[in-house]
């Protein structure tokens, strides 16, 4: 079962790469401006032995990890508070809805003024923009908690906080986890965007800026490919964690079909 899944995934990616290469070969896209898939792959392979890129990747990874951790630490409690206290949610909603659509291109100059450390800057941008999927999913998940499950604990005399932590949180957890997975992908994008827009000493975005200066499209897209692959890996890891934690959830739903 798991085997078949991996095989299919590999087949899917291989199919995509082949298709992209064929599109390039047929001249549908001018390969002077957009390198062929094979060229990008070669560039990506080159990066693997490029010590500079590896250092950059490590730096981006650290910012991503720290940013995501902090995001979860901030967004889950915030989502819980907003989901559990509708009056608070209503009061804060205009502010949240006002802030959400403000793009990172506008946030980053602001963050530059507020944070003098590049790591802090990137982490702050990640926390700002990656929190929303977790907050929103948490609010929606809390609404979906079976009222009888909550009443059961309330009837045993547990207070609202206990009910929140012992019933609402676990039963909302699978959907919150989906929010975290969305956020993890967003965080990759944000770290790199912050590096592209704000610069810095190290990072994949910095490497891309440098590659751009030499018109090395292959390296730019190779680096982007690695970012994508990192997205796949982090997602796989998060799914594996979810599978372990939420076995009960799969058993009750159609997921285990």
């Amino acid at each position: 079962m798991e085997h078949a899944r991996v095989l299919r995934g590999v087949a899917g990616v291989a199919g995509f790469l082949a298709a992209a290469e064929i599109v390039g070969a047929t001249g549908l896209i001018d390969d002077r401006f957009l390198p062929r898939m094979s060229t990008i792959l070669r560039g990506a392979a080159e990066l693997l032995v490029d010590g500079e890129f590896l250092a950059d990747a490590r730096a981006s990874l650290a910012a991503w990890g720290l940013g995501l951790l902090l995001t979860v630490a901030v967004a889950v409690p915030a989502g819980l508070a907003l989901g559990a206290l509708p009056p608070v949610e209503r009061a804060v909603r205009p502010l949240i809805e006002f802030l959400r659509p403000i793009p990172s291109v506008a946030i980053i100059p602001l963050a530059i003024l507020l944070f003098s450390d590049n790591l802090h800057l990137r982490v702050a941008v990640v926390v700002y923009a990656a929190s929303w999927p977790i907050v929103i999913n948490t609010i929606y998940a809390l609404r979906d908690v079976d009222p009888l499950a909550k009443e059961t604990l309330r009837s045993f005399g547990f207070g609202p906080v206990s009910v929140l932590l012992r019933v609402a949180l676990p039963s909302a957890a699978p959907f919150i986890a989906t929010g975290i997975r969305v956020a993890a992908g967003t965080a990759v994008i944000l770290v790199i965007s912050a590096e592209l827009l704000a610069g810095g000493a190290e990072g994949i975005g910095i490497y891309i800026t440098e590659a751009a200066s030499g018109n090395r499209m292959d390296l730019m897209l190779g680096a982007a490919l690695w970012a994508g692959l990192f997205g796949v890996l982090s997602n796989t890891a998060l799914v594996a964690v979810e599978r372990r934690l939420f076995r009960w959830h799969d058993a009750r739903t159609g997921a285990a079909r």
Partner: protein, 301 residues
Amino acid sequence: DTTSSSSSGNGLEKTTLKVGTIPVPDSAPLQVAINQGFFKAEGLEVQPEVVAGGAVATQKLLGGSLDLSLGAYVGTFLAQDKGAGKFKYVADSYGAAPGAFVIMVKKDSPIKTVADLKGKTIAVNVLNSVSQLTAEVQMKVAGVTATPDQFVEKNFPDMPAALENGQVDAIAGVEPFITVISKAGGRIIVDEMTGPTENLPIAGWFTTDATASKYPKAIAAFQRALGKAQAIVAKDRKIVEETLPKYTKIDAATAAVISLGSYPTSLSESRLQRVADLMKEYGYIKNDLDVKSMILPPPAS
């Protein structure tokens, strides 16, 4: 920590400087100074940091995450004029030279002369930058008036494709993209740095007034070290060719053939004033800019 002061003999207020650079030929002198150990000799440690452009550099200087940065004069003057902050140039870095800044069109474009650019879309790497200013100047020389909405912003690497696909009619390019577009059959319409813009200063090293007055000795040390490198670079193009592949992804072969700008050795008020005057003439700034107040001359050596 950038604020840690040192007890080293030369009494610098600050021994570690974070300096913003851009991976373009403009910042070659800084790399040379680092490679040659000129900063070390002054008791300075320079940590170069890539910035995406002049606007980011001014933000980072104001926010305190950088001490100094490379910055194009046009952008910085604009920022100063709009009151974004008060800045000081401490060293010149890059100036115009023939062939380094050109306007190009694609092979079969109907545009043959600068006058044909009237009303056409022109891609510049940053809006309201020196590229746009000099393009406007060249158009005026040719007798046509440029409008602000005919300029669009495109990153240099995206220019060849944008030109080819017809998203823009012309581009204001630099190396190594001039070479790329030429190879695709692109034509040079005009060298942006001729006539009124010949030898125009492009970019220099700058900081904020506050930083300049807070760390005068460290800045002076920076100026001395950079001055030595600038002198070498100005005389020897070879050393730039060797340095470029080390901090950009321009490979050695390309570095050997591309057209480079000039590396002026002194920060001349009269040269910078030309930039300010042009900006005023073309409506980039409203007031007369006191260029002198924006220059921190290097210490007499």
